[in-house]
């Protein structure tokens, strides 16, 4: 499958230089991250893989275990704050990611930043725990900007720690 691999690698370089190949592969199927209005905290959703666990612009950053979209830290924001002039969508969904540095699982809220066109940088999609559209609380394919005042225009996604996950 040499040509298959070449294709994926070429896509990686062209579209998302800061994103791991594995993450890009997964970026192909989904996109936006958000959350349920009444979230059921899904503990044990998945864990960040190796790579660059402390780099907020990397898809392998530990908080991004259920990320799906453009990383706001690459777009003028940070891992936890939307870029200037955007609106943070209040309706969100949560994942549970393990921080390899302390071995603990954290509940992470993913919020879409809305009101502008796509940032277009650092596309990241890790489908750990992702479920189909009939399970919205776990579906990262939705555009969760629908819950913002801005409406549908999606720019990028942040991740906020909400607490330590307890089993």
């Amino acid at each position: 499958m040499a040509r298959y691999d070449d294709m994926v690698e070429g896509f990686t370089r062209r579209l998302a230089k800061t994103v791991s190949r594995r993450s890009v592969l997964r970026a192909l199927g989904g996109f936006l991250v958000g959350a349920a209005a009444v979230p059921v905290l899904p503990v044990k959703r998945g864990h960040a893989a190796g790579g660059a666990p402390d780099d907020e612009t990397s898809c392998d950053y530990w908080r991004y275990c259920a990320m799906d979209g453009f990383i706001c830290a690459c777009c003028g924001g940070t891992a936890r704050a939307c870029p200037p002039g955007t609106e943070a969508a209040p309706i969100t969904w949560v994942g549970t990611c393990r921080n390899a540095s302390d071995g603990r699982d954290y509940i992470v809220s993913y919020n879409d930043c809305c009101g502008k066109s796509s940032c277009g940088r650092c596309l990241c999609n890790r489908n750990e725990g992702d479920r189909p559209l009939y399970l919205p609380a776990n579906a990262n394919d939705y555009n969760w900007c629908v819950g913002s005042k801005s409406g549908a225009p999606y720019h990028c996604t942040i991740s906020r720690i909400m607490g330590v996950a307890t089993k």
């Binding site: 994926v8 997964r26 919205p136 939705y142």
Partner: protein
């Protein structure tokens, strides 16, 4: 496409004709030049009946979502025939059963990416690809990664059904005959639309059931209710990317089980499950995956599946092979088509000499296969930016 027509010279705009005349007067023209008539301004149109080998490629244009597109291509020649410009967060068009209408649920903002949101169903003429009408609908159309079940047309071509997500879940019903919005049907806990007859559809629900609706002749719900449980959404959920086989929708689970959902009269129920993979292949982590990972040729009884090798949560990974199963032989696999390039969506034409189309959302290219032999016939480059889903007939 030899039957494409051009306007007559009499349609030349006067200003352009005047310019050409002025130019002709300024430049000495020999006898050969004097006989040369200026070419008219022209716009192509398409034949009244398109080829069964035409394919629509829907593109959400993920990096510029205000600019959705749908490309029409001819699989035999590899030529592009035309395009629709389809607005924000595009999830794909529907073609009426008789091919006379293209219905496209679309979203627009008054300032491009801000301002007042307007949702419409735009109707396009299949010959000119020009908009011929708009039907306003509530600004609730679901935004998500494109998939075919975002909308659907009832079997008689009368009603267009559109999935809404605000995040409240409902279905908008549009009467394509009167060109009016009929109303909204709540589908709490359920998503998407799967037509099952001239006045029926179901949505698929988070508890593993379906929400089945029968419409009356005005498009209002005549009956509705949940089915028995069809699958286990916790242990092995099915993807939303089912294909239709007559009265049956074939869903596939993350692990590779085929879950037929059959409708007969008022009853929608699960049929006998079978697997795309052998136990040995499951051990080797072969799984279905992609954006539109299933395709079907009902008459030939062939089911096509994009397959890859991967661990848990790889249900959207692109396929490295297409597997072909014989529905008339209990799902026996009859073919494996290795791919040289990854694919995320496939579709098969329904004619006697079918073509199999494939696209990869990460590369703007259409691949065209002989659907019987599996051989790659041609590739068409520069098709969109993030080609998402395919529509064939």
């Amino acid at each position: 496409m030899s039957s494409r027509s051009v306007p007559s010279p009499t349609e030349l705009p006067i200003a352009v004709a005047g310019l050409l005349a002025a130019l002709a007067g300024a430049v000495p023209i020999g006898s050969a030049g004097a006989q040369l008539k200026p070419e008219p301004l022209a716009v192509t149109t398409l034949p009244a009946r398109g080829s069964p080998h035409w394919v629509w490629v829907n593109d959400i244009v993920f990096h510029h979502m205000a600019d959705g597109k749908a490309f029409l291509l001819d699989g035999d020649s590899g030529t592009m025939l035309g395009m629709l410009s389809t607005g924000f967060g595009y999830t794909g068009l529907q073609v009426s059963p008789d091919g006379s209408v293209i219905a496209s649920p679309e979203t627009y903002f008054s300032r491009g990416t801000r301002g007042t949101r307007t949702d419409v169903v735009t109707l396009y003429d299949p010959r000119t690809l020009a908009p011929t009408g708009e039907i306003p609908i509530p600004p609730k159309r679901a935004g998500h990664i494109p998939m075919r079940a975002n909308s659907g047309i009832t079997d008689d071509g009368r009603f267009l059904l559109i999935y809404n997500f605000t995040p409240a879940q409902s279905v908008s019903v549009v009467d394509l005959k009167s060109r009016t919005f009929v109303g909204e049907i709540d589908i709490p806990g359920c998503a998407l639309v799967y037509p099952t007859g001239p006045r029926r559809f179901f949505s698929i629900c988070g508890d593993g059931t379906a929400f089945a609706v029968r419409l009356d002749d005005t498009g209002k719900p005549a009956s509705r209710g949940r089915t028995a449980r069809l699958f286990d959404p916790v242990k092995d959920p099915v993807t939303e990317k089912a294909v239709r086989d007559g009265a049956t929708w074939l869903f596939v689970s993350f692990s590779g089980d085929v879950v037929p959902v059959e409708t007969a009269g008022d009853v929608t129920k699960a049929g006998a499950r079978w697997s795309l993979t052998t136990p040995a292949e499951r051990q080797q982590n072969w799984k279905p995956g992609g954006i539109q990972h299933l395709a079907i040729h009902p008459k030939r009884r062939r089911l096509y599946s994009l397959m890859h090798q991967g661990g848990p949560d790889t249900h959207k990974d692109p396929g490295s092979e297409i597997w072909v199963h014989d529905l008339a032989a209990g799902g026996r696999r009859v073919q494996r088509i290795p791919l040289t390039k990854p694919l995320t969506s496939i579709s098969v034409t329904s004619d006697a000499k079918p073509l199999l189309f494939g696209i990869f959302i990460g590369a703007p290219e259409l691949q065209v296969f002989d659907a019987v032999s599996g051989s790659l016939l041609r590739t068409v480059s520069e098709v969109g930016f993030t080609p998402s889903t395919l529509v064939t007939r």
